[in-house]
């Protein structure tokens, strides 16, 4: 165990834990859009910024991807930290004014938000879908499209690889803004524009999973496909 200082208070912290995890333990509420406890931190939304003392100087750092160190001093409630989180939310709201999740966070962080109802579902490039697909599902059908010298990408976006996708829908589940849409209708599921064939359970008749997903599970776990085509409730 390490000892760290959060807002002047000494607390014990697990080695290898992140600043955000320790802040959350103290029930300090810091809203996030790109963080998920089951995924590697990414530092995209910049909403979890705090101040960390490094070389005697207070510096802004995103708490989700900053690991704790012995004696580390952290401030979540300083003007600079609060202003940094507010400014990040304000910029997100500037770019995605119609998106509910962004509006909620912005409002919470003190940004003046238009009280009119809005129904936007923009992709805010938080990368939750990309990380879920790569780290949890393990197929990496989603990737960032990045920019650099002479790469001529106008607007960065998430790239979908239909050949790798198994139609599991995890990306739609984690998406904070509702940008990733999944429609399941009887024997068909549509996600990222790709149509998947759903498998009916031979016992209860419910269409419960896409065929590609069951094949993938069978391939990676060695469980015969015949076992998997019966839904979990009826197995």
């Amino acid at each position: 165990m390490l000892t760290i200082v959060i807002n002047g208070k000494k607390v014990k912290a697990q080695e290898g834990s992140t600043v955000l995890e320790n802040i959350q333990k103290l029930k300090i509420d810091i809203p996030t859009l790109c963080y998920h406890k089951e995924l590697s931190p990414f530092g995209a939304c910049r909403l979890c910024s705090v101040e960390v003392k490094a070389n005697g100087k207070w510096q802004i750092a995103t708490s989700c991807n900053t690991p704790v160190a012995e004696g580390m001093e952290i401030r979540t409630d300083s003007d600079a930290a609060k202003e940094s989180r507010r400014a990040a939310a304000e910029l997100l709201y500037y770019k995605y004014p119609e998106t509910g999740a962004v509006r909620d966070v912005a409002r919470k962080l003190g940004v003046e938000v238009d009280p009119k109802e809005a129904e936007g579902h923009d992709c805010i490039l938080c990368g939750l879908c990309v990380r879920t697909c790569g780290e949890v599902v393990g197929v990496s059908a989603l990737t960032f499209q990045d920019r650099g010298r002479g790469r001529d990408v106008n607007e960065p976006e998430i790239i979908f690889d239909p050949n790798a996708c198994i139609g599991c829908g995890s990306c739609a589940y984690v998406c904070p803004t509702g940008f990733v849409k999944m429609e399941t209708d009887g024997d068909r599921r549509i996600i990222w524009g790709k149509v998947f064939k759903m498998v009916p359970c031979p016992v209860c008749g419910r269409y419960f999973a896409p065929e590609d997903q069951l094949k993938y599970i069978s391939r990676t776990t060695g469980v015969p496909l015949g076992t998997l085509t019966t839904c979990v409730d009826c197995r």
């Binding site: 530092g43 995209a44 940094s84 910029l91 920019r147 650099g148 607007e155 960065p156």
Partner: protein, 648 residues
């Protein structure tokens, strides 16, 4: 103001008297006329005059009439292209700054816009994820602060945003250090995001042998890496290798094909890195290409100069195969003794690229080296014979003379061939040794000894066979023109060493084909070329690689191959070579804002056990798998630097 000539022949204008500068955060303001003075700011601005420039580290104004709001607007537009959008503040912040300026230009600006701009810059710099976002917007802050009147004139409608001609350059400390200028942050970022195929495509734009270079490069990029002084440089070479390895494991993606075939054909002499790079690039441009190679294998020094334990032969042959599959003809065992441009023209070749390398070992100046003793050989000859399959009988003891990578390659090969004792003798000390650290460490682990500050002066032979060497001790004197301290013999310190074999590895020179007399050569026996186009003095004949530079690295040879292809294309009536801006003398690592960097040294790869590896020529160094490469790539700070200037 003075002109500086660089290797690439691009003139850099250094601004030495300025109206205003905020470079490095140091403000010099001469506009009032009171403190008219000079300030030394080394800034890269290509040919022609720049009225003002804005870069990641500040604003520099030469001409007091320069239009700073328009420069700022154009700078932001270029910065927007490099901002990746992965963290929210940088890209959206730039968008918002551009929107504000656009509003000003349409006459809808207000005074409060300026304080808003300043606030956005501060927040973006403090809270961005990468070095680009943390540093790129500071000059905008300077512009708004020190050229406030100009911005107010824009808001008041007295001024408009001008179109004008703006120059742009994008670099990074690693990119600038790379002889071939690879977009290193770019391909690392693509690896980080699991887009290995795209990463390899980006690498191949400037480096047609990624698997080879990913194993053998001397990686000056890693020496320039900003992380070097924080924890450890990125493992850039190994990341490049990972992009190539992942591709090879999936079967090896082919190169692209030319969009349009062209009639002209080009002859290339030498299938080394320079020749292969030129061949590949010319083929992509649509030209027909034939390479003439004197040896039975293509690859040049990569094939016959580097042992298998550093570069497995199948990696090289795979990458050469891909180039052949593009339609490049390689005629092996075809030595061009005499180069006749006219005869080649008759055969349909419109241009020739001479890239024969430097495969002749230099004389070491010891008594007896020309006597033809059995057991005396030069280093490149030894490696060539070994790589071409000539059987080498291990003798008891071998002495290798020299301290460069060729000497190390010879020594470590001898250890594997079964020599009982392998010793390197080097006339200077460890500090001056030009071989790379990993090679020297690897050799030590394999039981190879290095005798410093000594040199052989006479070969001792019996019945025409080497049995020993008379040596003399050296001490270090004053630095010579290479900057290294010159070794001086210590009188009366002679000693004798028993040895069964001596390998002389103190440098190479080219063996040029008989060239037209008009082709200029140097006293080093290398070909003289125009540094920009690589054209020789004879029309249609170009040259590059080691036969121009003397023995250099593979990546330098690849770069010359790339540039020769551009020079040849221009000669054959195509596009002019792209202009490169030199950042020589500019500290690319310095930036005014820097986020918190968590200590996290580079990931290690596995090496073969030193005791086992000397038994064979298996590859010593392991590579990253995809997951390890993606993790290592996350360490990149993405130090892209954008510079935009207003042409005067």
């Amino acid at each position: 103001m003075f002109l500086v000539h660089t290797l690439h022949g691009i003139r850099c204008l250094r601004m030495d008297t300025v109206a205003f500068s905020s470079w490095n955060g140091k403000v010099v303001d001469n506009r009032t006329g009171k403190t008219a003075g000079k300030v030394a700011v080394d800034l890269p601005v290509p040919e022609g005059k720049a009225a003002a420039m804005m870069g990641w580290n500040g604003l520099v104004v030469k001409d007091s009439k320069a239009d700073i709001p328009s420069l700022t607007f154009n700078y932001l537009k270029e910065a927007r292209k490099i901002s990746c959008g992965e963290c929210s503040v940088c890209m959206i912040g730039i968008d918002r700054l551009l929107d504000i300026m656009d509003r000003m230009a349409r006459g809808q600006g207000k005074k409060a816009d300026l304080s808003e701009m300043r606030e956005i810059v501060r927040q973006v710099a403090a809270n961005s994820k990468c070095s680009f976002g943390q540093s790129a917007l500071f000059p905008v802050l300077d512009a708004v602060k020190y050229y406030k009147a100009d911005f107010l004139a824009l808001i008041g409608g007295a001024k408009k945003l001008a179109g004008g001609a703006y120059g742009v350059e994008v670099t990074a400390p690693c990119m600038d250090a790379c002889p071939a200028g690879l977009d290193i942050p770019g391909y690392i970022e693509l690896i980080r995001n699991n887009r290995f195929d795209q990463s390899l495509n980006l690498i191949r734009r400037d480096c047609v042998l990624p698997g080879v270079i990913g194993r053998t490069c001397t990686h000056p990029c890693e020496d320039a890496c900003v992380r070097r002084d924080m924890d450890e440089s990125l493992a850039i070479r190994l990341l490049k290798r990972a992009a190539a390895d992942v591709d090879l494991a999936q079967g090896g993606a082919p190169f692209g094909t030319p969009l349009r075939e062209k009639d002209a054909k080009v002859a290339i002499i030498g299938a080394g890195p320079a020749g292969l790079a030129a061949a590949c690039q010319l083929r992509l441009k649509g030209y027909g290409v034939t390479i003439f190679e004197s040896l039975p294998h293509a690859g040049g020094m990569a094939a016959v100069g580097i042992p298998d334990y550093r570069l497995p032969a199948d990696i090289l042959s795979h990458e050469i195969d891909l180039i052949k599959r593009m339609g490049v003809q390689i005629k092996l065992n075809t030595k061009i003794e005499k180069l006749n441009a006219k005869a080649l023209k008759k055969d349909g070749y419109s241009a020739v690229f001479v890239a024969v390398g430097a495969h002749e070992g230099n004389k070491i100046g010891v008594e007896g080296e020309d006597a033809g003793y059995e057991g005396f050989v030069d280093g490149v000859r030894f490696l060539r014979d070994m790589n071409l399959g000539v059987k080498i009988e291990p003798a008891g003891k071998v002495m290798i003379v020299g301290g460069g990578n060729v000497a190390l390659d010879c020594a470590r090969s001898c250890a594997r061939l079964g020599f009982k004792k392998v010793e390197i003798i080097y006339r200077r000390s460890r500090a001056e040794m030009p071989a790379s650290d990993e090679e020297i460490e690897g050799a030590k682990e394999e039981g190879i000894s290095i005798r410093f500050l000594a040199v052989p002066v006479k070969i001792i032979a019996k019945d025409g066979k080497v049995v020993g060497a008379e040596c003399i001790k050296m001490k270090l004197g004053k630095p010579d023109e290479s900057g290294r301290r010159r070794p001086v013999p210590v009188k009366g310190s002679e000693f004798t060493v028993k040895t069964d074999m001596i390998i002389a590895a103190i440098g190479q020179r080219p063996e040029l084909p008989a060239l037209d007399k008009k082709v200029g050569t140097t006293s080093w026996g290398t070909v003289q070329v125009d540094p920009k186009t690589l054209a020789t003095d004879v029309e249609g004949v170009f040259a590059g690689g080691d036969c121009v530079t003397g023995p250099a690295t593979l990546i330098e040879a690849l770069d010359m191959g790339n540039r020769a292809a551009e020079g040849i294309e221009a000669y054959l009536g195509g596009n002019a070579p792209a202009q490169r801006v030199s950042f020589k003398g500019v500290d690319l690592c310095k930036q005014r804002g820097r986020g918190l960097v968590i200590q996290n040294p580079a990931a290690d790869v596995a090496f073969l056990d030193p005791k086992k590896r000397v038994e064979n020529f298996e590859e010593v160094e392991g590579g990253f798998n995809a997951a390890a490469a993606m993790r290592e790539a996350q360490r990149c700070l993405r130090c892209y630097r954008v510079v935009v200037w207003e042409q005067a």
